[in-house]
Amino acid sequence: MSLITTLARLEAVDSGRAQPLATVRHRHLTDRPLVLVPLTTAGEAGAPLGALVGTDREAPRLLAVAQPRDRDLRFAFLAELAEAVLPHIEACADVVEPAERNETDPATGKKTKVEVELCLDAAQVIVPSRAGVEFVRLLGRSMRFRRTAEDNPDTPYPAPARVPLLGRWLTHYGERARVPGSSLLLASTDLLNRHWATGQSSLEDQHLGALLSWIDPPAGSSGAEAALRAELARDGEGQLLCPPAGPATDPDFDNRLLAPAIERYDRARTALASAEDGLAADARLGELSAAEREIRSLLARVMLPTWDAVWRGLDLLRQLPEGARAEDRWTRDRWSFTAHRDRVRSGEPPQPRRDDAVTAAQKLASRETAQAQLEAQEALDDPLVLAGRRLAGEAFLGTVSGVEMAYTESKRPSPRPLVTVRTDERPHLGERTKVYRSLDGKPQTAEFVRAEQETDQDGEILLVLRILDRMGRSKEPAPGSVPEPGERIAWTLFEHDQRGGPKLPDPEETPWTHGGPPGADAATRAEQPDPVTPEDLL
């Protein structure tokens, strides 16, 4: 945790309210995000219990599984989820703008511009918590390899038609969420924690209700009190007033309300199955649907507070203006969205279970680039974030007190002006450390030459910097490219842009150090499907 975050947290404790960590919103929010509040069944990995989903805060769609251990019902739930989510994705996939992309011609090796489609907007999905992101990933993994009757008429227990497709999309969203700064799939708690510091521990910050209590406490109450209430307060039946944001449920809810309701549902089902005549069956069917309705209303009761909390969090975030460079990162999300759309449309198989060596290295490299870029962009977009970097000695603000022209010693001298900057900050500058400033949105590089002592009574020092680039090609620097005396400039010790990494070999050319091409050692380490056990076919 950086020093400035620690300070903000101390201030939050002191004042009883969350303190801002940012003055702008560092993640793009679309006009119509899809909010998904999933619940899972305790003790049954990957068995969804229910979900609220939709783009209209007034009209969430309630999905529920009355008996989560029943695989038919589970598939019915997933099919319904696909019907709720996929139209949202497909609506975005069809609206495109023309764009250009650099591609390397495989024959000549030359780089050429290719006309491609870029989706005008990508479908954004918001879940309440980080565990929700994890659950999206799990759902994706459990669905994308399913076979439908259309894929293979002989497949036992075929999945409903659109379920594998939803699995592929959710897998893509889960994977994209790992890219720093991406906004395709966001957790509400992560979003809020990026922008506010509370006076509680970072573990407690994962509780959406408590987090919102700190940021926006009810009138007349402190954040700490409201957060404690959100975590602990229960009603007359012993149920939490602010149920967990899921996907896990509160054990008291499971034991006291849900388990008995599911049991009633099971009994009604058994009774219906053993009904001997139509009249009895009718009556028992009524009991069964009553039992199902009860479960649905129980689930709605614990999911609605979370649903409202997610939207409230979005409201709070929308009050912040969007950071200038967040749009740029969202464009990358749109490219990622479009690329997955194209893979699906061209009939490529679902994402493999594990990345091969080259893909894994590529993903790691691009995420590291994204992380460095995100840190730089946030600091450039937001004075408060920059203040944190200044406090850590990674940036400084200074007033130009003098400019002295100097030139390189070569046949064609280029300008290398020496700029003296007055500052009361103490950046970690070493000899020839590079520093950068933003000039018309592009970084200009300078190097640290020396510190002119002495520290005066205001604690200010003079730093001499040599400007290295962006001054044009002629002997005299282009107008406006050299700082003027009196100008107040933010310099950073970190680069503003990231260079792309080296090109890795194609997967078919994976070298011997990394096991050779995928499938080369198939004979020895082929992935066998799990053997069929009696439990698989009940």
Binding site: A361, L364, A365, E368, P502, T513
Partner: protein, 444 residues
């Protein structure tokens, strides 16, 4: 001298076997584990020269530009006639200016310009951009344990067989984003190059250098036991071969007493009163600076097997090691205030591979309320405790042993990942227990 163990002969035997495998073996890779100061660079230089002499042109892959330049200079010292290529980046000042004075060295930013030279050296990052060249028959990968698996993936197509040399006890490579998703895969891109290499090629011969020439007899047993419990090594020198002494007698202050203790025993612990502090603990930082100041003021002289006469311990033979960069910056500022210049002050990551007469270390856990995986990392402590030829002084707040007991390692166990042993918790306790015997309490 000790009987039954002749360090020179042991080391020569190990080196001989490695060179034999390299020149005449049939396996595609050879891995050499080298403890701190065991002559890794000497081995790399020698293997490169012998391969070149045998008519095998080769490429050398190091991790940093400083390492590359150092190797080029060492090669030129051994054989000033041998044509060596230094492949460098296209940034400004891509290499050390010393290289301009070496007649045998060709420098270029393009690999094609260096084709045909006996030895071409560059960093892994630069090699990764080299494309469309005829692969080399041989390569030497230096500091292979500090190289990431994905970096090896990018360059492995450039050579047919390679000698991988490195120190398994030092800091593992790291990634600035989470890589848990690939943990347990044989080719986890965030793992070290050697672990990927051995996971896919378990039959490769593995060698070990058995003698540390840097660490004194006082330090080798501790570093060997604490960080290399299954691959022990010895020091090349014996007790009494090296001596550190001062021209000026102690003034009885804490820094002077801890310097005397360190000169006598090789280790010194300057313990400040227990306290939770910010990372740049002003008292501890000042104590570190004072120890350095007194070391230089008191006219330290080092006697060793390297020279007949005692050699003064000057600022360039002293280093300060910290865990974090802001701590290093704070120590630099404190030293500047005391008028000390020329002392290397850096983090463990940047001190890797370097050697000094005396080191002063700010303990990574000093003053902390918690012990995170970063601060417990075995390699960090190992680097800090194994840079010195004569003595190491550790500055630390009281209470680290209790802190360790309150924070057992809680990292999740990942399936398929080889458990590193010893863990940082264990190694930290071992080092602390040893340092406790050389403790000087001091209240600044």
């Amino acid at each position: 001298m000790r009987t039954g163990f002749d360090p020179g002969a042991e080391a020569a035997r190990a080196t001989g076997a490695i060179l034999d495998d390299t020149l005449r073996g049939s396996s595609r890779g050879i891995v050499v584990d080298s403890p701190p100061g065991a002559g890794k660079s000497t081995l790399v230089v020698r293997a490169a020269l012998e391969l070149a002499a045998a008519g095998h042109p080769l490429m050398v892959i190091a991790q940093t530009n400083a390492q590359v330049d150092d190797l080029v200079v060492r090669l030129a010292e051994k054989d000033p006639e041998l044509p060596v290529g230094r492949l460098h980046s296209s940034d400004s000042d891509p290499y050390d200016k010393v290289l301009d004075g070496l007649a045998n060295v060709t420098k270029s930013a393009k690999a094609a310009d260096l084709a045909g030279l006996d030895i071409v050296i560059s960093t892994a990052a630069k090699w990764a951009h080299v494309k469309n060249v005829e692969p080399w028959g041989h390569a030497i990968v230096d500091e292979a344990y500090q190289m990431r698996s994905d970096a090896l993936l990018a360059v492995a197509g450039l050579f047919e067989r390679a000698l991988f040399v490195g120190d398994p006890g030092q800091l593992d490579p790291f990634s600035i984003v989470g890589a848990d998703q690939w943990a347990g895969l044989t080719y986890d891109p965030s793992a070290s190059a050697v672990s990927t290499l051995l996971a896919h090629n378990p039959e490769l011969p593995q060698h070990r250098l058995p003698v540390s020439w840097r660490l004194p007899a006082s330090a080798a047993p501790l570093v060997s036991d604490a960080f290399y419990p299954y691959t022990p090594f010895r020091s090349g020198t014996d007790h009494g071969d090296r001596k550190l002494s001062f021209g000026v007698a102690s003034d009885g202050s804490g820094p002077d007493r801890v310097l005397d203790e360190a000169a006598e025993s090789g280790w010194g612990l300057l313990e400040l009163p227990a306290r939770h502090t910010p990372r740049t603990d002003p008292e501890a930082v000042r104590a570190v600076a004072l120890v350095v100041r007194r070391l230089l003021d008191r006219g330290g002289v080092a006697t060793s097997e390297r020279a007949e006469d005692p050699v003064p311990v000057t600022a360039d033979r002293v280093a300060v090691g910290t865990a974090h960069r802001d701590q290093a910056a704070a120590v630099r500022a404190a030293l500047a205030e005391l008028g000390v210049t020329g002392v290397a002050v850096d983090t463990a990551n940047r001190l890797q591979g370097r050697e000094f007469d005396v080191t002063v270390v700010l303990h990574p856990l000093s003053g902390r309320p918690d012990a995170t995986a970063f601060h417990l990392e075995t390699g960090r402590l190992c680097v800090l405790a194994s840079r010195h030829r004569h003595a190491c002084v550790v500055v630390c707040r009281e209470g680290v042993a209790d802190l360790l007991d309150e924070h057992p390692s809680t990292e999740p166990v990942q399936l398929g990942v080889t458990v590193k042993f010893p863990d940082g918790w264990e190694a930290n306790h071992a080092v602390l227990a040893h340092l406790a015997e050389h403790k000087v309490r001091w209240k600044p």
